[in-house]
């Protein structure tokens, strides 16, 4: 057998989808840090506010998406450009140890903050042994 077929392939995003609107989509840069009882995710999404951001959790895939209305500059010409405005999208796979009902999200100054609380650990059960 050829080596190629024996090798494991890394999973890409679940399904490659296309968008109906022809707007550029950017991947927001994130910081993720783990605290004692939660995982905190910060995502830079300039141009997004609390109404235009969408967070969905399907099975174990958490998807962040944000819509940006590009500012219209009628009567102006672009003298110098370094960036384009566009929507944001990024997905993360969550592990089972996250309490899905306790996820909190907030947006401030174009930064999305997600708090993903860790689920209560399975309680240890002590089994007493009786003497026969």
């Amino acid at each position: 057998m050829a080596d190629k077929e024996m090798q494991k392939r890394e999973a890409s995003s679940p399904v490659e989808t296309e968008r109906t609107k022809s707007v550029k989509v950017f991947i927001p840069l994130v910081d993720i840090c783990e605290t004692k009882d939660a995982i905190v995710l910060l995502a830079d999404m300039p141009g997004v506010d609390e109404r235009s951001v969408d967070i969905t959790l399907e099975k174990n895939v958490l998807t962040l998406s944000g819509k940006v209305e590009p500012a219209a500059h009628g009567g102006y010409r672009a003298a110098y450009t370094e960036y384009e405005a566009g929507d944001y999208e990024r997905a993360f796979t969550l592990s089972d140890e996250i309490d899905r009902d306790g996820i909190e999200a907030s947006v401030k100054d174009g930064v999305l903050k997600l708090i993903l609380p860790k689920a209560e650990p399975v309680r240890l059960r002590k089994i007493s042994v009786k003497s026969a």
Binding site: P46, Y80, K108
Partner: protein
């Protein structure tokens, strides 16, 4: 017949050692802290005959920590973005967002009236509107014609 050239440390010149040295140099360059100062924040400049609009993507910044100065036709943005310090027991998994201090300056298409500059910060986007200086505005010159 020539002897092989002796290297800096008296050792025989070896292409492998040269390559190793090159690799070390490249690694040193790549590992050096990337200076965000030159690339962050990204800026767009829009111009008309009357004023200039400068937009910058600066998510999550305290407007009080941002300095905007204008001199003649040069605009300068200076500020810093402090990362949230990790408390003991916290572990960082990813750090992709830009952090640290930044300074950027831009030459505008014409001199602006620094007294009338207006800046706003909304949804992580900074917008600075700079009206053109009166003295710099184009003036239409009427041509007198002597009719006979």
């Amino acid at each position: 017949m020539f002897w092989p050239e002796f290297g800096r440390y008296g050792r025989v010149w070896s292409p492998w050692r040269e390559m190793e040295r090159l690799q070390q140099d490249v690694n040193r360059l790549l590992l050096r802290e990337t200076p965000y100062a030159s690339t962050f924040p990204a800026v767009n400049i829009w111009a008309s005959d009357q004023d200039v609009i400068v937009e910058a993507e600066l998510p999550g910044i305290d407007p009080g920590n941002l300095d905007i100065t204008v001199a003649e036709n040069v605009l300068r943005l200076t500020g810093s973005r402090k990362p949230e310090a990790l408390k003991p027991g916290e572990v960082s998994h990813r750090q992709e967002r830009a952090r640290g201090e930044f300074t950027r300056s831009f030459r505008l298409p014409y001199a602006v009236d620094s007294g009338k500059v207006d800046a706003s910060y909304e949804r992580g986007v900074l917008t600075v509107r700079l009206p053109r200086a009166e003295a710099d505005k184009p003036r239409k010159i009427e041509i007198r014609s002597q009719q006979r």
